[in-house]
């Protein structure tokens, strides 16, 4: 069990960290585009869409890492006053709602993505890059979130039963 949880943690973290480099990519592409447009009057066709796609990947695939590091904002007025056991118990309950959201979205996104992949959908702009990989990324991001949230839940259940963290 420990190994599976470590694998989930590891993949969330690794994928999230890998997204970091896209931030630099976006900044450099933007500078290049401004340079070409302002001084050489030769705007690129690909800069705007490629930077938007890169940022989209950062938001989507960084989500599970943010969850693993507990960065998603919560209101902690009552929550922080609870003992660790109570927190774990409440978390197990709210996990039901978390998974309702993620799983329902995942099911709908899967259909959304499958249609797009079948059509080899593209953005129909001048550059016309394929857009279906972004929809695959969105599906993947929901799967990662679900796994990470479930790993958290398993840890809570273990903690409640054995009284020590897994």
């Amino acid at each position: 069990m420990k190994k599976i949880l470590a694998l989930v943690d590891g993949s969330s973290t690794w994928i999230g960290k890998a997204m970091g480099i896209l931030g630099l990519f976006v900044a450099v592409v933007i500078a290049y585009e401004i340079l070409m447009r302002t001084f050489f009057s030769r705007p690129t066709v690909w800069a705007s869409e490629s930077t938007v796609f890169a940022c989209g990947l950062i938001y989507l695939l960084g989500g599970a890492w943010a969850l693993q590091e507990d960065k998603h904002v919560r209101i902690d007025m009552l929550y922080n006053k609870l003992s660790p056991q109570r927190q774990a118990l409440v978390d197990c309950f709210t996990y039901l709602f978390f998974s309702l959201y993620i799983l329902v979205m995942l099911k709908a996104t899967w259909i959304y993505m499958a249609e797009s992949v079948q059509l080899r959908e593209s953005t129909t702009s001048a550059w016309d890059p394929p857009i279906y990989p972004m929809k695959i990324a969105m599906t993947l991001s929901l799967i990662l979130l679900f796994l990470q949230g479930t790993a958290r839940m398993i840890r809570n259940v273990y903690f409640l039963m054995k009284g020590k963290p897994l």
């Binding site: 999230g16 960290k17 401004i34 930077t51 709602f97 996104t109 959304y112």
Partner: protein, 439 residues
């Protein structure tokens, strides 16, 4: 089920889940999904998914990770230390000079940084130890940093304005200009308070030692060269936007490279600091975006259920008159600001309120600035006071949350005064945009 009942159920369900400590994003999303499954056929879910997907590819949203990255690099580049030194040599001779210097340095830093967390954490690490070492009153030291850091929201660039512009469909450039005067008014009020407080309680801010006060003019002027990099950076980022060379998202990208350049000049640039900044960017922007995504789902479902029309009709039926309605909206914002953060408030209320305000003849940009002022109040109002949380994270262990709340209270009142002024005189927020952009 009637729309009245649905509205009440949505609010109650979200509040219960949030109170149980489920992160805001999942609380909102779960309610949206449950509502959709209960009211509509499953096909409607596709609409929610499409809304989320479009949001993830929103061009304006791109400015958020870039400004977060720029702030992260600047925070680690030593710019804030230089800025603080350059400013406080002038104010150092005054009583409370360090606190005044902190607020001014915060205001200047705010013209490069668009998120409050970066400001408060940075100056909490730089200015707080200096003030405490100089035996400043805890209250004065904590309050000036926590409140001064909030200026990042009003003084451009500002992430709140970017997201507001995206939701409200108005020019981010005009919003940025609109925030300048209100931001300066707020800074002036804060400084005025520090001066008054130190005059009333001289022991709160012991005056600097003679050695520190009598720095020769030439040396003082030499320290001002430290200001060159920040000033260039701020001018470059904002200038490229107003000259029409770059969009706000592009200006943010330029800012990232500029911040890296500044760090290189300061000999602070290395791989670990860049890596940490990049990681921080991923985590913060992913956290914000998943909140945006959830907000997209609830707005989609609620609009389809007829909620938007319902809220608008109810507000109209209250018959408060234009100004009464605006005041009522602000009361709701301030109330919500005590419990949830600005993103939630923006996504949940602005799509409902804005059409009403516009219908009554109010200006979109002015409404945005007023919204931002209210969020400023929200930063400081307990129990959910983000400014206080950031302050706590960099304070010495003996400082309690309650102490920080009390320290920020005077600034909270001043912010409310400034909000009333900015609301009552739209010219304060509209004069600059009209002068420079609306020919």
């Amino acid at each position: 089920m009637s729309i009245e009942l649905i509205s009440i159920l949505i609010v109650v369900a979200m509040l219960v889940l949030m109170a149980l400590g489920l992160p805001l994003a999942w609380s909102i999303g779960a309610v949206a999904v449950a509502l959709t499954l209960y009211l509509f056929e499953p096909g409607v879910l596709m609409m929610l998914v499409a809304r989320v997907f479009d949001m993830s590819l929103n061009y304006t949203l791109m400015a958020v990770p870039l400004f977060v990255l720029m702030a992260g690099i600047l925070q680690r580049s030593g710019v804030a230390e230089d800025l603080f030194d350059a400013v406080h040599v002038w104010a150092g001779g005054l009583r409370g000079g360090l606190a005044i210097g902190t607020i001014i340095a915060n205001a200047i830093m705010a013209s490069m940084v668009g998120i409050i967390g970066a400001e408060i954490v940075t100056f909490g690490l730089i200015a707080l130890p200096q003030m405490l070492a100089r035996k400043y009153d805890d209250k004065l030291a904590l309050g000036s940093i926590a409140a001064g850091g909030g200026l990042a929201t009003l003084i451009p660039p500002s992430v709140v304005f970017i997201v507001y512009g995206m939701v409200a469909g108005c020019s981010v450039g005009e919003l940025f200009l609109g925030g300048v005067l209100p931001g300066l008014i707020l800074a002036a009020l804060f400084i005025g308070y520090v001066v008054w407080h130190c005059w009333r309680n001289p022991e709160a801010a012991p005056i600097a030692a003679a050695k520190e006060r009598n720095i020769p003019w030439r040396k003082k002027l030499a320290m001002q060269k430290n200001l060159a990099a920040p000033v260039c950076l701020a001018t470059g980022v904002l200038g490229s936007m107003y000259l029409g060379i770059a969009t706000p998202s592009e200006a943010a990208g330029v800012g990232v490279l500029g911040a890296m350049g500044t760090a290189i000049l300061n000999r602070r640039f290395n791989w670990p600091m860049l890596r940490d900044s990049l990681y921080e960017m991923v985590k913060i922007s992913a956290m914000l975006s998943w909140l945006f995504f959830a907000a997209q789902t609830i707005i989609g479902a609620y609009t389809l259920a007829g909620g938007t029309t319902f809220v608008q009709n109810s507000l109209k039926a209250m018959d408060l008159g234009p100004w009464g309605t605006i005041v009522f909206m602000q009361v709701i914002w301030i109330f919500l600001g005590c419990f949830i953060d600005w993103i939630g408030i923006l996504f949940l209320t602005v799509p409902l309120f804005l059409p009403i305000a516009l219908g009554m003849g109010f200006d979109n940009v002015w409404f945005g600035v007023v919204f931002c002022m209210n969020m400023h109040i929200g930063y400081l109002s307990p129990p959910f006071a983000p400014s206080a949380f950031y302050m706590k994270s960099v304070s010495p262990p003996h400082v309690t949350m309650a102490q920080i709340y009390i320290a920020t209270l005077p600034y909270l009142w001043l912010t409310i005064v400034a909000t009333i002024v900015v609301t009552a005189w739209p010219g304060l927020s509209l004069w600059l945009p009209q002068l420079l952009l609306r020919h």
